[in-house]
């Protein structure tokens, strides 16, 4: 990433005053489902639409590409209205989920397809395509048909094909979902590199928080067709506003009313926090901050103490993640040894403590 790119990125969220970049409100109605998401991005921004399956992320992407019409709203790219422009006339490149490389064309001809449609001669288009493949480190595979390419190679060809038309908006639909875990790591790093070099707006759709956080400068969390939270990856990871995000980033999240250092959670329990707030707030703390005891602890300095019942156990890395109900539903992480010593099993009663300093409260 060069310095110029970085300075553009720092303005993340606000489109440049010249009208450069993306400014959209995407409204698509389909039967009972309604998508209504506002998106703005400056050139150089990478925005991730993060959300569960069926949230409407892909519909938003298709609306940006012009593959589904907008029911309402607007779509401006670099100051130009695009809502009524057919997909072939939009300066938009798309990397589809399973890449959709044309199976009858070689990698080179797949990449040359776009330039050819934009008026380049066959020779020019092929020369451009060869340059793109070289940039992607795929010169050796230029003549290969898509079925001969590995998942990672196909992904790079798809990216080259989308970039070869010099789009002002690059769309990526679950760019890493089709890859196995090992390839994914490499491809994610490469994709991050290519996105950092890309000078226009990139919007990617993913249900994987790690992909979103590694690849994007800004996340828009979409649930049920609506943007429920927007911000930098670290902001969203620290201050989740929905259970979905809290679960994704591995936090216990509660909504309640704060009175000083005490937060009355909607369920009835209260949590003591280090922050001094009033009014509606969120409280979050990581499962690792929870300590479990078999008997009611007496000498504990922890300010928060709840009686809980174990509902489930699962391994989580080298830890055991315990799901608990009771005063407060929560997840707790503990070592395998600790879990064995406590005799944890579904139905067991335990006491959970959390230090106030390890909770994090922020206005809702």
């Amino acid at each position: 990433m060069n310095d110029a790119g970085k300075s553009t990125r720092n303005r993340a969220g606000a489109p440049a005053p010249t009208g450069e970049g993306l400014d959209a409100r995407l409204v698509v109605e389909r039967g009972a489902f309604r998508l209504d998401v506002a998106l703005t991005a400056a050139p150089g921004d990478v925005v991730a639409l993060l959300g569960p399956n069926g949230a409407g992320k892909t519909t938003a992407l298709r609306a940006l590409a012009g593959l589904v019409p907008l029911t309402d709203g607007h779509l401006r790219l670099d100051g130009a209205e695009l809502d009524r422009t057919p997909p072939e006339s939009r300066p938009v490149g798309v990397v589809f989920q399973d890449y959709l490389l044309f199976p009858h064309l070689s990698a080179l001809d797949n990449v040359a397809f776009g330039p050819r449609c934009h008026g380049a001669t066959k020779a020019e288009a092929r020369a451009q395509a060869a340059a793109w493949l070289e940039r992607m480190g795929l010169t050796d595979h230029a003549g290969a048909k898509p079925r001969r390419l590995s998942g990672g190679q196909a992904q790079r060809v798809a990216l080259a094909r989308a970039l070869a038309t010099h789009p002002r908006l690059l769309l990526l639909d679950e760019p890493l979902a089709a890859l196995d875990a090992r390839t994914r790591l490499d491809v994610r790093a490469q994709l991050r590199h290519h996105l950092a070099e890309f000078e226009a707006v990139a919007v990617l759709v993913t249900h994987d928080p790690l992909d979103a956080m590694v690849l994007a400068d800004r996340l828009v969390v979409v649930e049920n067709g609506r943007a429920v939270q927007e911000g930098t990856p670290s902001d969203i990871a620290r201050r989740p506003r929905t259970d979905y995000i809290a679960h994704l980033v591995g936090l216990n999240l509660y909504r309640g009313r704060a009175e000083g250092h005490t937060v009355h959670v909607d369920g009835g329990a209260s949590i003591t926090t280090s922050e001094d707030l009033t009014g509606p707030v969120f409280v979050a703390f990581p499962p690792g901050a929870v300590t479990l005891h078999r008997d009611r602890p007496t000498g504990s300095s922890a300010r928060n103490l709840w009686r809980c019942e174990v509902t489930g156990l699962e391994t989580h890395g080298d830890q055991i993640r315990t799901a608990l109900t009771g005063d407060l539903p929560l997840a707790a992480d503990l070592t395998t040894v600790a879990a064995a010593e406590l005799g944890l099993r579904p139905g067991a009663t335990v006491w959970a403590t959390v230090k106030a300093a390890q909770t994090h409260a922020y206005p809702a």
Binding site: A65, G66, P87, E88, L100, F102, A162
Partner: protein, 296 residues
């Protein structure tokens, strides 16, 4: 069940061998019964199936048995046979070409464009498939005949007469064969992944470019299979051809007409001509299987 391995059976120890054989037979009987229940074909299905197979194969075998093999070279080198064969091949190919040029766009329209009455249009396209070809021939005469709805204008304005000409043969064959192609290509188009077309449009391709450069190559196997079906149907076309184009040797007498006519006074020639058509059919089938059926 295999026979006992050599070396195990000793002819001198007859009683033991006999005992063994006996037990084996018992095993086999039980094994067979079990086999039939599990995976074999039950008799009520197997029997009709074999009858059907015999019914389909027997006439072809009979054709081969009764073929005048000795006089075959003379029969097949006669001018009439070659004339009829050439006419058949030319007309069937021309009909297939017309079907491709007009039928593929029609298939695309049916598969890709939503318009009111699409179901009706599809039914109309399918109609010639089930219509008796003779009726098709009569209908073509009513439309394109000298006094037909359109034919009278063709005649008086351009001096074009279609019935009882070679063009008439092509028209009759196209009428009967094109639906095969349309239905086949439409099915392939429906099964094809439309997202490839979407990918093409996001790369700047117009709808027609996307069709030409992406859809067409992707559905090529389906088009080829449809074309072969249409070609075979055109080659064998009899009813519509004889009704609309007549039966003039050298001009409109195709192979099927020649076969039928020859059967009246020269059965040996009919058999020889029939064998030629059979050979062509088998060649088509082989080509279809090797090139397209395994590929798709």
């Amino acid at each position: 069940m295999t026979s006992p391995p050599p070396g195990r059976t000793d002819p001198r120890t007859g009683s033991r061998a006999g005992l063994r054989t006996g037990s084996r037979t018992g095993l086999r009987a039980r094994g067979d019964r079990r086999h039939r229940v599990r995976g074999g074909a039950p008799l009520p299905l197997l029997l009709p199936a074999l009858v059907a197979l015999a019914f389909l194969v027997l006439p072809l075998v009979a054709l081969l048995v009764r073929a005048p093999w000795r006089s075959m070279p003379d029969l097949l080198t006669s001018a009439e046979v070659w004339q009829a064969l050439r006419l058949s091949l030319v007309c069937a190919t021309a009909a297939t070409a017309v079907s491709l040029v007009l039928g593929v766009p029609l298939a695309w329209l049916l598969a890709r464009v939503e318009f009111p009455g699409r179901g009706l249009v599809r039914a109309l396209v399918t109609l010639p498939l089930v219509l008796p070809p003779v009726v098709g021939g009569v209908a073509l005469l009513m439309a394109l005949g000298r006094n037909g709805v359109v034919g009278q204008w063709l005649d008086s304005w351009f001096g074009i007469t279609l019935p009882f000409t070679m063009t008439g043969v092509v028209i009759a064959e196209t009428f009967v064969a094109m639906p095969f192609l349309v239905i086949s290509v439409e099915g392939t188009l429906r099964a094809a992944d439309r997202r490839y077309e979407e990918a093409a449009t996001t790369l700047g391709a117009s709808r027609f470019t996307a069709f030409r450069r992406v859809t067409l190559p992707l559905i090529a196997p389906g088009i080829a299979a449809g074309a072969v079906l249409a070609w075979a149907r055109a080659l064998g076309e009899f009813g519509a051809t004889i009704t609309f184009a007549g039966n003039f040797p050298g001009r409109t007498q195709t192979m099927p007409l020649a076969v039928y006519l020859a059967l009246q006074n020269d059965p040996e020639t009919a058999i020889a001509l029939g064998l030629v058509l059979l050979a062509v059919s088998i060649a088509v089938l082989a080509g279809l299987r090797d090139r397209w059926m395994t590929a798709s």
